[in-house]
């Protein structure tokens, strides 16, 4: 086989990536998952092929991951996103580390040892607090486009504490803050702080930290806030939103002896 494909069908977005046998990226794409995961996976794969400027023939090895992994009819096998994120993260950062992945609807904390083996993982407790869905909900309430959040948070010079327990509770808390005259940029930085708190509540976050996920890809200031809180540099791999799909493609490569 010459092509190794990873498709990550997440709750919010579907990602596809195509590697060659040297694990070099030939093409990648992100589409909205919507309500039809099969369609989303086909679309993402098609777009990745367009970027790669080639069609993947039937001898491409495809692994699907993510919540919708069983809805990818053209995948050979499936693997959980936990395994795939760990794989992708270790490729870029081949040392023991804790991976924090903040996705559309879940956060994952995955511990990886020096040999790249997973030694433990946790996912967010039941609720979407601290995830992309949380940021979407709050952005909606504040009538802000998602892609404006990072810039707004960067401009804030205040630290307004906002809760991290529950998205609905936080939305109500924000109403109180608006009534008190807190500026939008400070509110946005506050909800970023809430995302940081949520991750800290999940794990001691010892040692080296790597961060991935769509939330991280689109909000680099959030990473800076994590760095300040954890008092250490955080590594963000290339294409952080696509780390899961990348890991899936690496598994495909490995399965073929690569």
């Amino acid at each position: 086989m010459n092509y190794f494909v990873g498709i990550d069908v997440g709750a919010s977005t579907t990602k596809a990536i195509i590697l060659d046998k040297n694990a070099d990226v030939l093409g990648h794409a992100v589409v909205n998952s919507g309500a039809d995961f099969q369609r989303a996976s086909q679309q993402a794969f098609k777009k990745a092929q367009e970027q790669a400027k080639r069609k993947i023939p039937n001898n491409g090895f495809i692994i699907a991951t993510g919540y919708g992994r069983r809805n990818v009819p053209f995948a050979q096998i499936t693997k959980t996103e936990i395994s795939c994120h760990a794989k992708g993260s270790y490729f870029h950062y081949p040392h023991a580390h804790t991976l924090i992945d903040i996705g559309g609807q879940d956060s994952k904390i995955i511990r990886i040892n020096d040999s790249g083996k997973r030694t433990g993982f946790k996912m967010n407790r039941k609720c979407a607090a601290g995830t992309g869905a949380f940021l979407e909900e709050i952005a909606n309430r504040l009538c802000i486009k998602l892609d404006k959040l990072n810039r707004l948070a960067e401009q804030s010079e205040k630290n307004i504490p906002i809760g991290s327990y529950c998205t609905v509770f936080t939305a109500t808390e924000i109403l109180t803050k608006i009534r008190e005259g807190v500026e939008v940029k400070d509110l946005v930085k506050g909800i970023f702080g809430s995302v940081v708190k949520r991750a800290i509540e999940m794990d001691p976050l010892e040692g080296e930290i790597v961060m991935t996920g769509g939330v991280v890809a689109h909000n680099p200031f959030l990473v800076k806030m994590f760095e300040k809180k954890l008092e250490r540099k955080i590594f963000v791999p290339p294409l952080p939103q696509i780390t899961g799909a990348f890991g899936a493609a690496l598994f495909a490569l490995e399965a073929e002896g690569g």
Partner: protein
């Protein structure tokens, strides 16, 4: 991707006999309820059942009814009814579903057993808080609703080493109940009868222990999901010869499976310990899921909780009290961790699965750092999934299964 075939759960041949003795049990109690005799006692799962049986009561276990509501996936029809009268969705979902079912005058018992219209009417309610405080609130509701006496035993909680005063207080409480129980039952307390019933309970528990210990074999012959169902006679029929006879048959079947190396999970690759309550409404679904993953859930705190090693007919009161106090749920973290450590070695466990049941804090042992401590101490991976015994609103199937699948992938990748 090809369509996956539904994995087969291997049938246990003895199940037919179990269904019969359970049906006989429910029908006998239904008759008594309609005819007014023999008297009926409701008892908590690890309450003084043997004493009640010796006084001639038939015994109904509301927790067993709660489990039935969960297993038939009807609990969520009844829980909101209890919520509406002030019982929080955060408390025991056995309690809320059982009370809700009573208020609605509807129970899956009537669908399972033709002619049975409802749970049997109690003449007395007897609880032991060794399980939790919820049983006291649960029985108190019925006491008020039905104007029936509720007699309770208060057990110490978080016990490390069991001391005499822990036990003596409970012996005194139990003996203190006898006059009132005699009045309600119409029978005088008979020590010989009590010893005889305790002796049968002891035989039942010894057999149940052997049945669970059959899973020290590789591959394990009995899954946790099957064990929770086959535990029924130990829960509601201990003290009876029928339970003893049944477990002799079941044990023989499992011993045959061991000889034939016929495991509950075909191609068993990993062996897990389930810590916490079953997710009653998802037994089959999870059993099939684990079969697909070639992972056998083979030992559990829950099923082992009906092993009462200390029963001694020669010292009936103290031994029964000791047996009902030394159970896992009553003990402190040190004891629990040591217990799980022993089980890990005994059953050659590859990983620990903790079920955080939303409405059952006393049986959710992940909440005080135990998984983290055990991971370090035993160098064994752990996983915590969120769910509940009965309230399926608290169970995210997608999250739980993704976590379980990822956990098995982690086991696969480990040396």
């Amino acid at each position: 991707m090809s369509e996956e075939k539904r994995p087969l759960i291997k049938k246990i041949k003895a199940t037919g006999q179990m269904r019969k003795i359970m049906a006989d049990y429910f029908y006998e109690m239904d008759r008594a309820s309609k005819e007014g005799s023999p008297k009926i006692a409701w008892c908590t799962s690890v309450g003084p059942a043997e004493l009640l049986l010796s006084l001639g009561f038939l015994v109904h276990y509301p927790e067993n009814h709660g489990a039935l509501l969960g297993a038939t996936r009807t609990a969520n029809e009844y829980i909101p009814v209890a919520n509406a009268i002030g019982y929080s969705p955060d408390i025991c979902s056995y309690l809320t579903s059982d009370i809700g079912s009573f208020i609605k005058k509807d129970t899956p018992l009537s669908r399972a057993y033709e002619g049975i219209e409802g749970v049997p009417k109690p003449d007395v309610l007897v609880y032991n808080t060794n399980q939790c405080r919820d049983v006291q609130d649960w029985f108190s509701w019925y006491a008020r609703e039905l104007n029936v006496p509720a007699l309770g035993i208060s057990t110490y909680r978080n016990i490390g080493e069991i001391k005499d005063y822990h036990l003596q207080s409970i012996v005194d409480q139990i003996k203190g109940m006898i006059p009132e129980l005699e009045k309600i039952s119409g029978n005088k307390f008979d020590l010989d009868k009590y010893k005889e019933i305790l002796s049968l309970s002891k035989k039942c528990t010894e057999l149940w222990k052997k049945i669970l210990e059959a899973n020290t074999a590789i591959p394990a012959p009995l899954s946790f999901f099957d064990a929770t169902i086959h535990m029924g006679p130990a829960v509601v029929l201990r003290g009876s010869p029928q339970a003893v006879e049944y477990y002799e048959v079941l044990l023989q079947e499992l011993e045959e499976r061991i000889v034939q190396k016929d495991g509950a999970v075909e191609g068993e690759k990993y062996r897990l310990y389930w810590e916490g309550m079953p997710i009653w409404g998802k037994l089959r679904d999870l059993a099939e899921f684990f079969i697909q993953l070639q992972t056998a859930v083979i030992a559990s705190t829950y099923c082992n909780s009906w092993i009462f090693d200390s029963f001694d007919p020669d010292d009936p009161f103290m031994s029964m009290v000791r047996a009902y106090t030394e159970i896992f749920i009553v003990r402190d973290e040190n004891y629990k961790e040591k217990y799980i450590e022993e089980m890990v070695h005994k059953y050659r466990i590859n990983g620990l699965l903790f079920h955080d049941a939303k409405t059952c804090p006393n049986n959710s042992n992940n909440r005080y750092g135990m998984p983290e401590r055990l991971e370090k101490k035993l160098d064994l991976p752990t996983l915590t999934i969120n769910g509940d015994l009965n309230d399926l609103r608290c169970y995210s199937e997608e999250q739980a299964k993704t976590n379980i699948e990822a956990f098995v992938e982690q086991l696969e990748a480990s040396p």
